[in-house]
Symmetry: C2
Subunit: 368 residues, 2 copies
Amino acid sequence: MTFKVPEDIALCLNEDRGKAFLESIWNKKAAYCCVIGNTETAKIPGVSAAGANPEATDFTPAADMELLYFGRCKCIDGVPITPDGIPTPGIVTMSALKLAPMPIFVVNGGLRVKPHTPYIEVEGTPGGDIRTGKAVKGAERAFDRALVAGRQLAKTVDYLVVGESIPGGTTTALGVLTALGYDTKEKVASTFPVNPHDLKGKVVAEGIAASGIDPELLRNDAMAAVQAVGDPMMAPAAGLIAGAAESVPVLMAGGTQMAAVLAIIKAMDDTVMDNLALGTTRWISEDKTSDLRGLVSQMGDVPVMAANLNFSASRYDGLRVYETGLVKEGVGAGGSSIMAMAATGGKVTCRSLLDEIEKNYARLVSRR
Amino acid sequence: MTFKVPEDIALCLNEDRGKAFLESIWNKKAAYCCVIGNTETAKIPGVSAAGANPEATDFTPAADMELLYFGRCKCIDGVPITPDGIPTPGIVTMSALKLAPMPIFVVNGGLRVKPHTPYIEVEGTPGGDIRTGKAVKGAERAFDRALVAGRQLAKTVDYLVVGESIPGGTTTALGVLTALGYDTKEKVASTFPVNPHDLKGKVVAEGIAASGIDPELLRNDAMAAVQAVGDPMMAPAAGLIAGAAESVPVLMAGGTQMAAVLAIIKAMDDTVMDNLALGTTRWISEDKTSDLRGLVSQMGDVPVMAANLNFSASRYDGLRVYETGLVKEGVGAGGSSIMAMAATGGKVTCRSLLDEIEKNYARLVSRR
């Protein structure tokens, strides 16, 4: 029987390779990993909506992980929200993992607030404001440690799904993609419906200038680029993915932040690129204010696919608002939705996911 | 075809259950985990030989883990040795993992020196001298975090093997077993050929008295016992094993230290005991100065088995000396040898293991 890609997954780039990738993971055993961290960049006014206020963004990654493990947050009341009260995309990931239970592993890239969960330590440290041009310390060490961890995890399952949670991460993504010489013009996404491209561009330019590193050198040294204008999620995510992809397929679960991680992997070890795909949400793949395809197509023929999540018919305002372009992606929401469909051979659909998401939303958010 | 236990594995206690356990893991997919930590107890003169000198014992667990991952140590030159220069049993574990490659996971129970490897963090802290009666902080938190990690790992493989590396650990084992009310008279093993039972007993009695806790209360509160006179490996090892054993078999790889961990598991959640077995070395099972069977038989019908490792015919003095009762066990040497046999359906034998051990010994030790 020939494999047919379900309608709930849209192939967005390198479609044939995307279809083959999906076929290779269909009904197979997965583990979900999430690389988390904090960067002071999130606290630059106007940069991130991944927290009720700039200080609250410190808690968002830890709270997201607690949500995945325990179905509720421990380090904060309720769940992470935007300044407008819109809940974290971690609710999507958590719902996907409920419908398709699988092992969950957290990697601490560098956190100000630790989750009340076990996590894999790779000796990263929280990131600084990229305007300093010295945003991350010890990127290569974190990459190497995570590489080893990725190799171990790859021995346990058929494929890996790797997401991220780091507020401010699209700005640092713009930083690293710019430093590595990619065309980034209005291509990087945002948690805001109106993408603050100008602000982000200014922050990145300031950081690159402050780093004092010759742009030509920066372009050819991914670890230097991360250390100058990246964030502490990037190097361990790249290492984890590269280590696993030496032997198994890896679905990189995220939007333009994962494009930055892909650029780092390409620079560190491009032999693993054939084992990679990017899985994201429809809100990213159809986003008019960013261009994930335009980024990934500069890096080779890695497929991009999107879960056709659509909250327009939801009973809840807080979910319907996702259709206006708020939040869009995070905690591997899109990739984990694809993973839930693949793990259950298509039994999980965007419809059954929305039901589960609404159930969790009702429990976690609406009654607060 | 009926399953036959190979001659290289000796069933030492609850033989029928041991045979059934072995059959359940034969040719199955495993992961090897090691829970490591440091305790100041190791620095009491005469307590531990797991390092060239008391201060060197701080490096032993980290160096052991580097040996497993990279085939050589990074935080020290050479490998961990006893004051007499006898190499770590980590060489046995490393050789077993080379012959039967499988994923390796390290849990940081509480370390003074961190390994140059990724590790699972459970927020433990290094342990104090048990003579203070306040040896460990936050035992229950570490137990709970490790419990969650064990549940995740259990979803990835058919069974788990869990070892430990913590110098001074047999003295803290005596501490916890005594506190929990077990008959421990000359039952706990030692890295020394002449077991310093009197010294250990004195240290433990001092610790229990210093804790100021009513012995009756201590007997019924495993976490209080660990915090008074235990070490930081114990609670996370118990949690990891209990979490995994909810769903898969777990081979507890160690000697009398693992008996202490078993006592803790029995106190925390005795419903998982049916999924457990203890795997150790012949040097422990035949040790005249300790009594693993006498300990485990007080806890229920958990089977004990031993890898019939025998170094008397080795080309190397440093290995032959294991036959005099030095070192005996550690880093899950015995259990990982059993695991290598099980994972390869018996293709790995004590003979082929010794060949591999000698090869690694020659490379790592003899040419220093």
